[in-house]
């Protein structure tokens, strides 16, 4: 029998508040996500359209340059439609970036069985998912609303006529549209990555989750001659939402006309489904015998 001295002293110093703990996981996640050269490459690639847009804005806002390049044409008009195009471009680049980053955040942990070691800390499963969500959302912000708002601010600065006051709704729409997409995309990314342990397959599965239901919805709409099948088409649903948020006319969009509550309902349902998947998959269990 050992002689127990009972002189062991646990840590009794101050501790940080609980809500800050997921930020440590977010830091883990950001380091993991941006530690890859491919992530950096994709992010740089995603910003190239913004550079092109910046040049177009310069041309549009400089009367001499505009006259030289496009003459009197209205092609280079900086308005809601222009920003809607920029928003859509950046948001689809965000999908590519999310498909690459999300599996690195979750699939690696699941594949490496790292969850038990992380969840044996005072961090709940919710805290774990929140940390990863923050890492993904911050990464996607870098290619969505941040450059979009920079472009907006540049337009406010460079416009030869007072522009900002009359177009503040665009900035709000850009931020809201990008934020909704980031939330939906992050949840889909985390859910798919928690379901598929193999990173490459998880990346492919993310595209499949976005585009396969779109095909199914399209077929259903065509067969049943109804527009409701388009609610499964995330690209159409998001385009409709972005167009309404930015306030752009829908002259290029055909007659889809999905009701806003239905769009909101689909996005909320998709998000809840992702949360349910995460709840089922993010577990600390190490060994399941069978």
């Amino acid at each position: 029998m050992s002689v127990f001295q009972h002189d062991y002293r646990p840590y009794e110093g101050p501790t940080t508040v609980l809500w800050k703990r997921p930020l440590v996981l977010a830091r883990y996640g950001l380091a993991e996500a941006w530690g890859s050269k491919i992530t950096v490459g994709l992010a740089v690639l995603a910003l190239l359209p913004c550079v092109v847009d910046l040049v177009l804005m310069y041309l549009a806002d400089n009367p001499v340059a505009k006259m030289l390049v496009v003459g009197g044409s209205k092609v280079l008009e900086i308005n809601e439609r222009f920003f809607l195009g920029v928003l859509e471009t950046q948001c689809w680049f965000a999908l590519v970036l999310a498909a690459w980053i999300a599996p690195r955040l979750v699939s690696f942990d699941l594949g490496d069985n790292a969850l038990p070691i992380l969840l044996s800390h005072p961090v709940s499963r919710f805290g774990y998912v929140l940390g990863k969500f923050i890492a993904l959302a911050v990464s996607l912000s870098y290619v969505t609303w941040v450059p979009l708002l920079i472009l907006f601010v540049y337009q406010c600065y460079a416009s030869p006529v007072p522009w900002a006051i009359g177009h503040l709704g665009i900035a709000v729409g850009l931020f809201a549209g990008a934020s909704v997409w980031i939330i939906v995309l992050s949840l889909i990314g985390l859910a798919v990555s928690s379901w598929v342990k193999w990173r490459v397959i998880a990346t492919g599965a993310m595209f499949a989750v976005v585009f396969v239901p779109a095909g199914v919805g399209g077929i259903a709409s065509a067969i049943l001659r109804t527009k409701w099948g388009l609610l499964l088409n995330i690209p159409v649903v998001m385009s409709e939402l972005w167009q309404r948020l930015v306030g752009a006319p829908d002259i290029f969009r055909g007659k889809v006309d999905l009701p806003t509550p239905a769009i909101a309902g689909v996005l909320i349902a998709a998000s809840l489904l992702c949360v349910a998947v995460l709840n089922a998959r993010i577990r600390a269990r190490e060994v399941v015998r069978g």
Binding site: P14, D112, P122, R289
Partner: protein, 317 residues
């Protein structure tokens, strides 16, 4: 301090993964010191450890660790350190960052976390240069050490170590066992699961034998061995006349086997009644015909108990 606040208690705990049994009806109380979980692969050792660390919830029964329940996550996890058996780490981190971030998950400030991380790395004897290299480049032994450092860094009172000796070379194993002994002596609960029974045997205060999800035996190794009465106990007796001792021992009916030691300076005896055996041995010693130098149980260890109670095929006998 009341008893519950200083023990790990399982009361009628069962854990089912769907229809698959993890552990069933485990009632167990662990005091401070080193406890070894012994059982074949898939016996439920890791489930028991996961229950103890709050990573899975019991299907039935209650668990209390130092009077705390896993639902009280903040306090519970600050008192428990866990070293998983899997070679699992968040990627892209150095060993030092891994321990540091782990401490920050426990809510330590940057300054405290830094100091505790350095202390933990020193305790597991991982040198500073290695600690600042990426874990991906570590050897298996170094990865085991960094996992151990992570588990002890926040000064838990209960340390749960799943196969902590795997992958360690003999020197590192000896250092780790010395560390466990030191922590156990200081009053910490150290719960170890290991297949290296010979080494764990030397440091364990008690064993918990489990197979097929059921608790087979628990307690001090010697006490458990004494309880296994249907298996004759094997003893090594060092003496000057082993052949004479063997003939005298065979005169009593509880002695079932005698085998000369290879060096001729002793004899292995198997007896079905150890109390009777010691009485007879005393009489022989008093007679003076045989000069007895030493008597030691030869199967009074975790390995033998494992063989007797669980068997080499992993099924309880």
């Amino acid at each position: 301090m009341n008893a519950a606040a200083d023990t790990v208690r399982f009361e009628n705990v069962s854990k089912f993964y769907g229809e698959v049994l993890g552990v069933n009806r485990i009632t167990l109380t662990l005091s401070p010191g080193i406890t070894t979980l012994v059982g074949p692969n898939g016996s439920g050792k890791t489930t028991l450890m996961n229950l103890m660390t709050g990573l899975v919830q019991p299907s039935r029964g209650t668990i209390s660790v130092l009077g705390l329940e896993p639902s009280n996550a903040t306090e519970f996890f600050c008192n428990v350190g866990y070293c998983a058996q899997f070679d699992s780490f968040p990627r892209g981190l150095t060993g030092f960052q891994f321990v540091l971030d782990s401490l920050m998950l426990f809510g330590m400030s940057d300054e405290d976390a830094h100091g505790l991380a350095v202390e933990a790395l020193e305790r597991v004897q991982l040198d500073a240069a290695a600690a600042h290299r990426n874990i991906a480049g570590y050897s298996k032994g170094m990865r085991q050490k960094i996992r151990l450092a992570q588990a002890i860094a926040h000064h838990p009172r209960v340390l749960v170590l799943d196969e902590p000796l795997n992958g360690l070379d003999p020197m590192a194993r000896a250092e780790s066992l010395a560390l466990f002994q030191e922590l156990g002596r200081q009053g910490m609960h150290v719960v170890i699961s290991s297949h290296i029974l010979d080494e764990v045997d030397r440091v364990s205060d008690r064993v918990v034998l489990i197979t097929g999800g059921y608790l087979i035996a628990q307690g001090n190794i010697h006490d458990v061995r004494q309880e296994v009465r249907d298996k004759p106990m094997q003893l090594l007796i060092r003496c000057d006349k082993p052949d004479l001792l063997a003939s005298k021992m065979f005169a009593v009916n509880h002695c079932v086997e005698a085998r000369l030691h290879a060096d001729g300076g002793g004899i292995f005896l198997r007896t079905g009644d150890v109390d009777q055996f010691y009485r007879v041995l005393n009489e022989i010693a008093i007679e003076g015909a045989v000069k007895i130098e030493a008597v030691a149980p030869f199967d009074d260890n975790a390995n033998a108990i494992y063989q007797y109670l669980i068997g080499s095929d992993g099924s309880a006998l």
